[in-house]
Each structure stands twice: as structure tokens, then as C-alpha cells.
Amino acid sequence: MNKLFNPQKIALIGATDRENSVGEGIMKNLLQGEKEVFPVNPFKEEVLGKKTYSRILDIEEEIDLAIIAIPAEKVKEAAIDCKEKGVGAVIIISAGFKETGEEGKKREEEIKEILEGIPLLGPNCLGVIRPSKGLNASFAPVSPKAGKIALISQSGALIDSILSSSEEENYGFSVVISLGNAAGLGLEDFIKWASEDEETKVISLYIEGVEKGRDFFKALKESKKPIVVLKGGKSEKGREAVGLHTGSLAGEGKIFSGVLRQTRVKEVSSLEELFDLSKTLAWQSPFRGGVGIVTNGGGAGVLMTDYLEGISLPRGEFENPLDVLGDASPEKYREALEKVFSEEKIGVVTVILTLQIITDPEGVAREIVEIREKYQKPVVTVFMGGGEKINKAVSFLEEKGIPNFKDPFRAAKVLKALNQGL
């Protein structure tokens, strides 16, 4: 799969400079990187300053990756050319296959057969992005930054919206894969690959359905990286019921959730939660022990305590939550943090900050970063609200790998998910 994720020479079949077309979008994204790009288009001399070829077979150099973005009826011909050219991998962006009915299904089968033995992504997908290698082989409108999250999604459109929110939320990706119809490589293959990938620390999946249930189960079970899953389409209608209780109760979502729990995979129920958890797992480790809370606002501490019900909040020589009061300076925070971090029973610390008239968020953020270095315990922060002062402090924290959540509820959910007992 190296040819798919780190190609040097890329051919784009269907390259064009027609504004707002898929072919133009991919071309522009490819040109952002440092790869050699060979546009293929029999009707044009030049696309975005690059000489075009009328067929992939006209290119003299060897091609690592061929991307096909032309109407579905013409894909077969292009696939035959790719096979003859001996390309290293193929991505078919084009739609109009299995998802459209019988005829499309037949078309997909044919192409699958032609490309047998060549790693194939798609058809009907957004493409693939590998930021660290300067590869954006997709028509996503945003190029995300490099990071440690491997995002694998059965929905292409969701990827677009995730990528645009990743900018604000400061997380990046080791890889972004849009599965499409998965005629060649499937969900299980990419989970296995990401599990071995050195850049990946956490695998985030958006899934609507699996076909090979047991292969999926095995890939989850054997993954060396934590996995977080958001499942779409969890309606509880039973299937194949033969008249007994078990069948009528076995909605798709029920069995799926059981499989996730059986393989110790975290299931979440919203996109926000998917990335709150993924981001934290990308930067920090799951923890053992209790949670220590330091706050400069009583109410926020109370809410956090409520949300953390069922999780141990040990006390040492201090109250937990430890309220440093509204007028707390960075020094006051430091003193409190020192007490909480040094307590053995505390496995993770959460620091809450509400902006009050004399609060210095950046100063507090710096103290948090320093003390975490000293004690090497995980920490998540809840710097609440917005505005310049808070945003600056949050950027600083997240650059240092400390995830911030603006609502204690979100932080508590993450802490509960990462808690592995005492």
C-alpha cells in the first residue's frame, strides 16, 4: 500500500482546469505537494501549467499511483490502460457504480476484475490524504495538517466537514481515507495498515455498515492502536427474524455495539465526541487512578464533579475539586497544581479556568505545561468561553498536546472514556 500512501509519480486521468470540477480540485490538491503529477486528458494540451497526455500509456515514466476521475462509463477503458501500464495503485473517484443499482454493480465487478492484484481505493470516494508526505489525492476543499489521527470514513462528505473543523480544533491527521464502495481495499485492510503505521496513534472510524463482519472483528481485535468508532444508521429494526426473541432484538446497532465492546473499541455517538476522544488519544495515554480537579470557579467544579459520577476523585492534603477562587493568579494555580499532581492516587488532572477580571489564561497555561513535564501525568483542560485571551492560551496548550474542552461535559466524557480503573 506504500504506492497508495507515498507515491512519487502520480497520473490523474480526468485532469482538467474547468472551474469547480472534481478534476480541477484534485489537480490543485496534487500540485500543492512535491510529487510529480502527470495530467491525462485527450482534449487538452495543458492543465494548470502541466503538459497533458492523451492516455496514461503515453507517459514514459513509471507511474506509482493512478487517480481516475472521469464518467463511470469510461472508467473501464482507463482501468485497462492502468493495468497495461503496470501502475502501483489506483484510486477511482468516479461515482456511478454499485451505489446506483444493477448496471453500476456490474460495471464495478468488471473493473474489480481488471484491476485484480493492484491496490484499489474506491470507486465513489473522495480519495486519500497523507499530510506528512505532502500527498492530497482527493477533491477535499481543505488540506488538513499532519497529526496522529488516522481517519477512515465511509462517507466522503463527512470528511469535508471534519477537515474544516480540524483547523479550529488544532488536530491533524496521519492519513485520511475515504472508503467509497470499497471494491478493492476495504475497511479491514486499512485498519490493519493504520495499526502498523508509525505516524498513527489513534484510528477514528465513521462506519455505516460492514460486509465482512468477522474480518472486521479480527482487525479491531488485533489493532495495536486505540480505535474510536462512530456508527451511522443504528436503527433498531430487527432483521431476518424467524419469530424468536433473539432475532427481533438483534437490531443491527445492538450486535455492532457488542462487537465494539468485545474488542475494547470506544464507541461514540457524535462527531464532536469522535474527535474529542481521538484528539486526546493522539496526544495522551489512557490513565489509571483518580481524577484531580483544579478550578477557579466553584460552579464549573460542581458541574465537573457531577459529570464524573462513578469516577474516583481522591483527596490528599486538599479538597477535590480544589477551588483556587476567582482571583487566582498563575502562581496560585501553580501551588494548587503542585499539590494535586504530586498526590499518588491522582492519575489525571483536569484544570478548569473561567475568565474573570484579573485572570491570566496564558500565564496559567504555561504553569500547566511546566508542571506536566515535571510529573508526566496526563492533563486535560477546560478553559471556558472564548475571546482573544482564552483562544491564545488554548492554542498554546494544544500545541503542547494538552486538549482543551470549552464545556466540562465534553472533558468529563473524555476522562470517563480514558479511565482504565484504579
Binding site: 424468536l244 426473541h245 432475532g247 438483534a250 450486535i255 457488542g258 462487537v259
Partner: protein, 205 residues
Amino acid sequence: MLLSFKEGEEILKKYQIPLVRSFLVNKKEELPQIIEEIGFPLVMKIDSGEIFHRTEKGGVITGIKSEKEALEGLERLLSIEKVQGVIVQKEVSGVEIVIGGKRDSVFGPVVMVGLGGILVELLKETVFRLAPLEEAEALDMIEEMRGNEILDGFRGKERVERKDLANLLYKTSLLIKEEEDIKELDFNPVIAGKEILVCDLKIVK
């Protein structure tokens, strides 16, 4: 095809899944000796390869406390259409649990557990796993079941050994895995007290 009680009993025996003491009766002359052996109270239910929901046909009588009640009950049950015999069982008490298994088109053999009684279908509080199970997985399944605290003795109810229930789940998971021609099965209820016993079963091939 719904298996008869006898066929089901055989399969349970093969996997050492404990069934409450049960006798299949066709004639009233057989009753006195059974009563002598297991005593009261008794439960009686119809055995039929065609009737899926016995209670809807009035095919279950519980709390039988005398020979007279037993004889009258037997006569009535045997008169129901398509009934091949009547199952006579000792009535046991404890926490009602439902255990099931099925062959899913995507995931293959799966096993299910939930707290039982008629509420199971309303609350849909059931937990699934792929079969076969490992012991720790079976224990975790019980842990996930909402209301599982009832197993630890609630309002004077008998405490149920979690590892015994886990063991039963494990055996059921083996059964559904190995018996490839079984499409689906229900053990409902399984009654868990000092012992954990399957009290009724339906197996579809």
C-alpha cells in the same frame, strides 16, 4: 423449523446446559409418578413444533399445587390443537433471565443475554457478543446488562454467582457456534437462583 422439546433437550445435554427437571407427558396415567418425584408447585406447558408463542394459545399453566389441578390442566392442554404433548416441570424461583443465540448474516454466530420476563421485549435491554466467548467476555457481557445489580441479591432475592451465569453464556456461545444448522435459539426464561436453570427453550433450524 421449530424443534420439539425432546430434540432441544438432547442438544442442551450435548453442551451440558442445565435444564430444569422436565417430563414429557401424553397420558394422565403418567402424572402421579412424576408428581411423586418432583412435588409441587408445578408448571405445565404445551409442546408443539408449530406454536411459537405458547402463552397466546393459553398453553402455559403455572403454580399448580394439587394433583386435581394437575389432571384438569393436563386435560385442557392436550385438547389444544396441534399439541403433541405436555411438558411438566418443577416450578423454580429466582431472577428471570433470557439467553439467546442466532446466526447473523454479517457477523455469523452471536450470543445474547438480558434480564427476562415480559419486560425484555419492551425495554430491549439486551447485550450481544460474537460467539464463541472467552470467560472474561462473558463476565463483561453480564456487567453491561442494565440492572445487573439484581444478581447480587436485591430485596431478599437470592444472590446469583456471576461466574456460573458467565459459564452458561459460554456454553450457549459454543452451541450456536458449533451447531451450524441452528438459525436461532431462545432460552426464556432461564431462572437464576442457587442454581441457574433453563426453564424453557425454543430452537429454530
